[in-house]
Symmetry: C2
Subunit: 208 residues, 2 copies
DNA sequence: TAAGTAAGGGGTACTAAGTACGATAGCCTT
DNA sequence: AAGGCTATCGTACTTAGTACCCCTTACTTA
């Protein structure tokens, strides 16, 4: 059931995931689903936790920078694959077991890496803010690939006076619309910048 | 009308903002609203743009670091005041005028600060990822103030074996539950860390 | 002054979606 | 065979968005 629900949300968006559509996907009737979940909210909670379970866990005791980097890349990949998950996170209150396991492991990695409690809090907040925020930006981009960017930019610009948004025009024509542009490629740059900054505050490691 | 809608969403959550509740707030009937908007989607678009309009614009030509810092603090404040806005951003495709103005100005500030187009892209992506992500984390925290943190932590921990999440227990008892803890206070630390990192890549400024 | 007109406001009703309630059918245990 | 458990389902109520069409008011124009 969870698989089917994730499939619908991935393919057609969270809005298309209704009890009725899910039931149809499973060749069942809507009310049959309620033998497995108490409410749709509970289903959504389970979906979020399932997404967290997909993220690679770092290893406590390894090189904190490498471990955090690996799990952050994984988190970004997983969340980009299920863009609806972030929308749900905000509304859900009680974290599931995979979510808790994840948090616990990350805290362990940072602590073992020599961060004080205070710095662990800072580091974790920054890293996850960046990962979540980046995925959120990716998800809200009005275009999917490099190709559709042009059309979108054009359609936005039309209807405004030519000089209204000079910097956006420059940015769009000189950068975004250049061959090879890909928003997602910027993720690692920012991640490394943050990890560099954090390394200066860890008790054990210097930035390279 | 927009004011009333924002008021409902702020006070009772986005879920409480229905055409019917909005009409009631305005002492009108649901269908009357459709003389001013074409659909609820259009209303939500307008709300998002209204939130963006609340954010302080940076000044092009000023010290990029100070300007970006000021607008980022403002963005975080505004978005925290309207936590539902981020949820909407993901679903909306076409940015409104305030949103475009905002982006254009930020790009201008960074360009004037000596960043190359490539670095401007990187910088803007990192900064906004951080701001959005931080607000998202704040919004999804299951507690509002320092006081309720204890109760929440306890209720999460019960039902799990004592040793299941050792690092979270340490973190909760030794850090989160200490007097004076406030998640939001970490925002500036991360922002400055990022700005420091970016300053090393700007053409004109050295990190202090 | 009388008639026309457009804009604001609303009544009714259809559709989609979550889900409460209770019935049914197959199967298993004693 | 009788009782009970489990999965499934049919019916129907509720909330929410909104299509369709009517009414009132105020202003315009002859």
């Amino acid at each position: 059931m969870l698989q089917a629900a994730v499939g619908i949300a991935d393919a057609h968006g969270l809005g298309a995931l209704t009890m009725r559509s899910l039931a149809a996907e499973l060749n069942a009737k809507p009310m049959s689903l309620y033998h497995y979940i108490r409410s749709k909210d509970e289903l959504l909670d389970a979906l979020v936790d399932g997404v967290f379970a997909e993220i690679e866990l770092p290893e406590v005791g390894g090189d904190w920078r490498a471990e955090v980097r690996r799990r952050s890349l994984s988190a970004r990949t997983v969340l980009a694959r299920h863009p609806w998950a972030l929308t749900l996170v905000e509304a859900r209150t009680s974290p599931g077991p995979a979510n808790l396991r994840h948090h616990d492991t990350m805290l362990g990695v940072l602590r073992a890496g020599g961060f004080s409690l205070q710095m662990t809090a800072h580091a974790y907040a920054i890293i996850d803010a960046y990962v979540y925020g980046f995925v959120l930006q990716e998800a809200s981009l009005p275009f999917d690939g490099p190709d559709s960017a042009n059309a979108v930019a054009d359609s936005i610009m039309e209807g405004f006076a030519a000089g209204d948004y000079p910097h956006m025009v420059e940015f769009a024509t000189q950068h975004v619309q250049q061959p090879g542009y890909h928003f997602g490629g910027q993720f690692e740059f920012g991640l490394d910048l943050i990890l560099d900054g954090l390394a200066m505050h860890s008790g054990a490691t210097r930035p390279s």
